[in-house]
Amino acid sequence: MNLSHVEFLVEEALVNLRRNGLMTVAAIGTVALALAVFGGFGLILWRLERLAHSLPPKFVIDVFLKDNVSRQRALQLQQKLQQHPDIAQVTFKPKEQAWPEFQKELQQEITAALPYNPLPDSFVVQVKDPSRTAAVSGWLKSLPEVDAVRDAKEEVDIILSVAAIVRWVGIVGTALLLIATSVIIYNAVRLTVFARRREIRIMQLIGATAGTIRAPFVLEGVVQGVLGAWIACGLIFGVSRLISHFVMRKLAFIDSLGASPMPVWAVFLALTLLGAAIGGAVSTLSVRKYLQTV
């Protein structure tokens, strides 16, 4: 295949795209909508999963020491805790510091009546892997200096199982949606090929090879897929901007929960590649039927 032949095939594809205007618009529109739904769904899932993952580190174990533990022993214990492989960080919270915080949380009048500071010294322990919370708090409980341990085991469990569900729903949902997207695009492209099946027969009788007939169709499919993907990106970015503008104003705390900025380039690249791949593949499939010779 020489250069002028490649040039011919590309030119064919571009001229066909332009002159089959309405069909091209219909196919691109279908690709755009299908990919926008697919991409939007993927983005929502990605957000949810990021959210689910950003939550657990905020769960910590409060370790309250017995009253008779000296400050020095407590500091020694802190060293020991820090060496535990599952523990990320240990913060010592002396009772003098805990007390004003507690007073602030409750009403001053109640605490003011107390003659002394009833709070024990404590550690705030952050676990490396949230799923190890139970094991770590069990170990902490077994230490002789420790009076009580308060972990957020139940909350952590819920968050973790939600994260797992989100991930699985995401994988299954994305796969299903990908199939649906491909089928919709396949149908749109098949219609355009069907409308041009006579063209294919004429080309065959002229003596065009299967490759020569197929190439412009596949190229057209790729171009339609990519253009559709770009429109889909526009739709997704536009809508998500609107939504986040609205949500951020109403629910400012979402931001603090670790919503990361949208991976614009990743979405753009992924949808473009996906559009090109689906467009090329379904065009190949659609033309194949008409290229069979006896």
């Binding site: 004429i202 065959q204 003596g207 090879t209």
Partner: protein, 226 residues
């Protein structure tokens, strides 16, 4: 050029399109295939283009048994023949020039050669002034001329026409037949399936008559008499 031996064609739906047909066409001949609709004229042409394979019997074109041509080589085999249809078979999204040039471009010829041959073919059918028109803007006769220009652009040794005047008025039909005759005179073997009695009777060419898939007569300077 063409030798059909005892060829029968039965379509998958059970229709017997041709039954033990024998036909021999020499190089440079002009042959009319006549017969009522459904007599098997188109099927016979499709045997030659290898769109249909014989259920039994043999079809030999330019010394090759078409059944032995592997599917991959079919496009190259078809480049030795031009095909003209009743409904012209022009690509609707291409101009006259592009339609004719297309047949040459798929062959991968160099640009200069394509330009030369396209111009020559269009000039031969007398349509140089309609080069930039689209098929929808042409009259039936003009469209058929473009189809013929495309069929001969590659200068193939064989030209097949399936009811080329079926959609045209008598005067235009006559012109088209004259054009085919002209092409034949230059040395191209021409096979025309037709039931255009007026034209066939005037042309005084070899007439092969088909009736329900069987060759019932083969007359050297015949008339239309199915």
């Amino acid at each position: 050029m063409i030798e059909i031996q005892e060829a029968s064609v039965t379509y998958p739906n059970g229709v017997h399109a041709l039954h033990r047909v024998n036909l021999r066409v020499e190089k440079g001949e002009f042959v009319f295939l006549v017969g009522a609709t459904g007599a098997g004229k188109s099927t016979l042409l499709k045997l030659i283009t290898r769109e249909v394979l014989p259920s039994s019997g043999k079809v030999i074109v330019a010394g090759r048994n078409v059944a032995d041509i592997p599917p991959k080589e079919v496009p190259y085999y078809r480049r030795m023949m031009g095909v003209v249809f009743q409904d012209f078979g022009l690509l609707p999204n291409k101009t006259v020039w592009e339609n004719v040039a297309f047949a040459l471009r798929v062959l991968g010829l160099p640009r200069r050669e394509i330009r030369k041959r396209t111009a020559h073919a269009i000039e031969m059918v007398g349509l140089l002034r309609r080069c930039d028109s689209f098929p929808a803007q042409l009259s039936g006769g003009e469209a058929q001329r473009v189809a013929i220009a495309r069929a001969i652009a590659n200068d193939p040794p064989l030209l097949l026409a399936d009811e080329p005047t079926g959609n045209l008025d008598p005067d235009t039909s006559w012109d088209i037949m004259q054009l085919l005759h002209h092409i034949n005179v230059r040395g191209t073997t021409v096979l025309v399936a037709s039931h255009d009695k007026y034209v066939i009777d005037q042309m005084r060419k070899r007439v092969v008559t088909l009736d329900r898939g069987v060759v019932v007569s083969d007359v050297p300077c015949g008339v239309y008499a199915p």
